[in-house]
């Protein structure tokens, strides 16, 4: 792999600055609903997310991350109409902004997040996730996030990567029963243990990890379009940082080195993806209509159609999810030195 040239590095710098500027401009689009950010202490771990109609998932989401040691949630609500805002404003450790602007033209919410992170995230360890992603890592039950971040600090490592792991039920999602606040893993008990493939993208040095159940069920004919699974959810934020494509890659490009290149391995986590809770079919229909989710939405029509049909993704090769130890044994995440 040839080292990046001075010119290509300069282009990335320009790109980062342009994205920062976009983020800065987008601050006008956000209306504060509840701002408790004065409570934030200098060493607090913060969580940033953009949500839309997530009343189903949020109760457990908040519970999970509070238990992990997140001290404050900074949430952008993008036009929910299912009581999401009320649910969020009930909590004392949540600050909420509202916007009805286009999700797509805000780089799928990243511009808004860039602004909030620039404003509130500087110097903090930050978790940036979607409402359907639950972060876990080796020993997360006994060693909450402050332990991990302190350990990362001591090693001068400023981020940790995680892989999105699609969980799915046995049978069509809409046939399942899930009540808010319940652990989604009780309903979504299955996942694909194998069938992931990884490559490196030279431009920003990030990995490109794909595969899993969605590749198997919806993208078998066109694997290049299968969803990207690698993310960088945990970063010691600096106001000059910016996420580029969702949280799959970031600039400066050193943030993308979540993996080891010399034959060892770094510590990493898994984002349990709870997309396939009941209601995922209806959601796919709405998203397809709104055309807010992919830069070239038309190419994903087949995918939406398939999800909208409420398919049974289970196969005899599926593996039952039992916990982080299992993911470690399957090498879907690794411990490194941690």
């Amino acid at each position: 792999m040839a080292p990046p040239t001075l010119w290509s590095r300069y282009k990335l710098r320009l790109r980062r600055r342009r994205l920062l500027w976009r983020g800065f401009r987008s601050r006008h689009k956000l209306t504060p609903v509840q701002n408790h950010t004065r409570q934030i202490a200098p060493t607090d771990i913060l969580l940033f997310a953009t949500v839309r109609n997530e009343a189903l998932r949020l109760p457990y989401f908040l519970q999970h991350y509070r238990a992990l040691g997140v001290r404050h949630f900074l949430i952008i609500d993008n036009g929910s109409d299912d009581g999401t805002v009320a649910l969020l404003t009930d909590a004392p450790d949540v600050s909420v902004w509202r916007t009805d602007a286009s999700y797509k033209s805000a780089r799928f919410g990243m511009d808004w997040l860039t602004w909030l992170m620039m404003r509130y995230g500087h110097g903090h360890w930050t978790v940036t996730v979607d409402a359907d992603e639950l972060l876990i890592y080796p020993d997360h039950e006994t060693r909450p996030l402050p332990d991990l971040t302190k350990w990362l600090d001591a090693r001068e490592q400023r981020m940790m990567g995680a892989m999105m792991l699609d969980l799915y039920p046995k049978g069509p999602p809409d046939d399942q029963a899930y009540r808010p606040g319940q652990n989604p893993c009780e309903v979504l008990q299955w996942f694909d243990a194998h069938g992931y493939w990884v490559q490196r993208q030279a431009k920003m040095g990030n990995l490109w990890l794909q595969g899993g159940v969605r590749a198997r069920c919806f993208f078998a004919k066109n694997p290049a379009r299968a969803p990207t699974l690698n993310k960088i959810p945990l970063v010691k934020w600096n106001r000059r940082y910016v996420f580029v494509n969702s949280t799959h890659n970031a600039l400066p490009s050193g943030l993308n080195r979540t993996y080891d290149e010399t034959g060892r391995s770094k510590v990493s986590g898994v984002l349990l993806h709870t997309k396939f809770l009941p209601g995922s079919a209806e959601r796919a229909r709405q998203e397809q209509m709104r055309k807010e989710h992919f830069s070239n939405s038309a190419l994903y029509d087949e995918y939406y159609d398939a999800v909208a049909e409420d398919p049974d993704m289970w196969s005899p090769d599926a593996t039952r999810f039992t916990g982080w130890q299992q993911l470690l044994d399957l090498r879907l995440m690794s411990r490194g030195d941690w």
């Binding site: 792999m1 020993d139 006994t142 060693r143 909450p144 402050p146 332990d147 350990w151 001591a154 090693r155 990567g161 995680a162 892989m163 694909d192 243990a193 194998h194 069938g195 992931y196 493939w197 990884v198 490559q199 490196r200 990995l207 990890l209 595969g211 899993g212 159940v213 590749a215 198997r216 078998a220 004919k221 066109n222 694997p223 290049a224 699974l229 690698n230 979540t258 993996y259 080891d260 290149e261 010399t262 034959g263 060892r264 391995s265 770094k266 510590v267 990493s268 196969s315 090769d317 593996t319 090498r331 879907l332 995440m333 690794s334 490194g336 030195d337």
Partner: protein, 566 residues
């Protein structure tokens, strides 16, 4: 009151207080050194909190930065204080605020009382130990280190480089032999006071002030001058990880620490409530009264460090993606690639599976689909047989397959019709065993029922592809075990090559071959090749075939018998 504790504290005062009370409750006097960079407010709160504890005092404060003299100075002063204020103390135990006694203190007191003349301090000469991380071992003692490694890294590195260039070589005073070891020791009054009251102490102190990380060498070196009986090991269990950072113990290490039988462990994570609750409240005798046994922990940690430094060969995932040629092993396990065998033998795959017990796949890289063994549509979970998925990332397909099936030998067929993208990767993989019968791709053409002109075109294409693959296999970069026969060569004596291949595959095949696979009927093959030549397409990879085989005319009608070997 035979054991006194010197405790160096700079953070997590709540935990330090807990541990001080624990020591004190067992009758051990404690002298505490608090880092000077701790704010006055925090310091006075800490002293207040311990006001009611008997036999606890605070020593003069020094600024303790990692790797600098301050830590030694602090230790010296606190040690002097404990020796002079508590004349009964026979052993002084050096601990930190993040040390946690694992066994009841009384057991430690008894243990030391049985060994009144023994100094427990890890002390080894630099030449003999590979501990140092970062390349500075003997140079710690021969160069000067006035700059902080943590805050002034640039100056630190530049100054080291400058001294190397100037060939600076400091002399160790008074014929001392530099020794190094764990910072955490337990010394007898005799030894410790001898070190502290040495007439040459100013000279030694002056020298060690500019040594790098003197807290790991000052006492470790000087103790060799005076000690009567050195046990070169630390009573404090501490572990270092691959980067030389102290390993931190968390709640989930509870059982591991219990089994270690060590007296004290560090570093304990301040929020490890379970550890503190468990060990500070253990009734006496909760652990066996045995020699400390850090061996068990050592083994577990050695394994972890090895995993970390060597990694898992053949694993590609989100936190491990070695650059090409940096991987220690392209794939996870040995496997075999056969080219031309399935074409030449009718029942090669079942025969090979029977003879070796390995999993024998068909053409994994065939253009239509991946032919897994037993016509499975997916392997070990969701590795699908779809050609689209496979060709999207053929390297990943192969490394995943080998990784997922660790423990079972994988064999697969290959040929010039198949996706050739993996050729270099396989050729450079020491785990690969590649056996090629060159030119055997012509056999299916020969037996097919296609128009001759189409056959000619296909043959030209296949010959070109295979020839390129053979160039790869013959290059100097190859690390796989490669064997190439021309088809003519092979059918002269098929037994020997097969036996060699099987012997290499595994112990299952130690016995001699009793049965060989059935070769296809090659009558007329020579003529077929000649026809190709007549059309201007010269097939050369199969070697020299006579137009009519020697035995061809004799028994053309009788079916060939499988030949048996005794």
């Amino acid at each position: 009151m035979s054991v006194g504790v010197v405790m160096l504290v700079h953070t997590a005062f709540g935990r330090a207080e807990q541990v001080v009370r624990h020591w004190s409750a067992a009758g051990c006097p404690v002298v505490i050194h608090v880092d000077k960079s701790v704010s006055r407010k925090a310091f006075s709160a800490f002293t207040q909190s311990l006001a009611d504890v008997p036999n606890v005092s605070f020593s003069k404060r020094y600024r303790c930065e990692w790797g600098t003299w301050g830590i030694v100075a602090a230790t010296q002063t606190a040690s002097e204080q404990i020796l002079s204020s508590f004349p009964d103390v026979r052993h002084v135990y050096l601990a930190s605020g993040s040390c946690l006694p694992l066994r009841p203190v009384q057991e430690l007191i008894d243990y030391l009382a049985d060994r009144p003349k023994t100094d427990f301090i890890e002390s080894a000469t630099t030449a003999d130990v590979p501990w140092t991380v970062g390349g500075l071992d003997a140079e710690r003692f021969t160069l000067r280190f006035p700059f902080s490694w943590k805050r002034q890294r640039f100056l630190f590195d530049r100054y080291v480089a400058l001294q190397r260039r100037l060939r600076v070589n400091r002399q160790v005073p008074g014929g001392l032999v530099p020794h190094m070891g764990s910072q955490w020791w337990c010394l007898t009054r005799q030894t410790l006071s001898a070190i502290l009251q040495d007439p040459a102490r100013t000279e030694y102190d002056h020298y060690f002030r500019r040594v790098w990380i003197p807290d790991e060498s000052y006492f470790q070196t000087l103790v060799r001058q005076y000690a009567i009986n050195i046990e070169s090991r630390s009573l404090t269990l501490s572990k270092f990880d691959f980067q030389g950072k102290p390993h931190i113990f968390y709640d989930d290490h509870l059982q591991l620490l219990r089994r270690s039988d060590c007296f004290v462990a560090r570093k304990i994570w301040p929020h490890a409530h379970r550890l503190y609750d468990a060990f500070l409240t253990d009734p006496s005798g909760a652990m066996k009264k045995t020699e400390p046994n850090p061996g068990k922990i050592d083994r577990i940690f050695a394994k972890a460090v090895e995993r970390r430094t060597r990694g898992r060969a053949g694993l590609y995932m989100q936190s491990r993606f070695p650059r090409e040629d940096w991987e220690n092993g392209v794939t996870a396990a040995p496997y075999s690639m056969f080219q031309g065998f399935a074409e030449l033998f009718e029942n090669f795959e079942p025969w090979l599976a029977k003879a070796t017990g390995a999993r024998v796949h068909g053409h994994l890289f065939a253009p239509e689909q991946a032919y897994f063994a037993d016509n499975q549509t997916a392997m070990n979970g969701a590795l699908s047989n779809s050609a689209t998925l496979r060709d999207y990332n053929p390297h990943g397909f192969l490394t995943n397959l080998i990784w997922n099936t660790r423990g079972e030998r994988q064999c697969f067929q290959f040929g010039p019709r198949d996706n050739q993208v993996i050729n270099w990767r396989v050729a450079k993989d020491p785990n690969a065993q590649i056996s090629v019968i060159s030119g055997a791709w012509a056999v299916p053409l020969f037996r097919s029922n296609a128009n001759f002109m189409d056959l000619r075109k296909a043959a030209a294409q296949l010959q070109k592809t295979e020839s390129e693959h053979l160039d790869v296999l013959r290059s100097t970069w190859v690390k796989a075990r490669v064997r190439i026969w021309t088809m003519a060569e092979f059918i002269e004596a098929p037994m020997e090559p097969l036996q060699t291949i099987l012997d290499e595959i595994g112990p299952n095949t130690a016995r001699r071959l009793s049965e060989v696979p059935r070769m296809v009927d090659l009558n007329g093959f020579g003529q077929f090749l000649q026809n190709l030549k007549n059309q201007g397409m010269h097939p050369y990879l199969m070697g020299d075939f006579p137009v009519e085989q020697a035995d061809a005319g004799i028994d053309r009608d009788r079916p060939r018998k499988p030949y048996l070997v005794r």
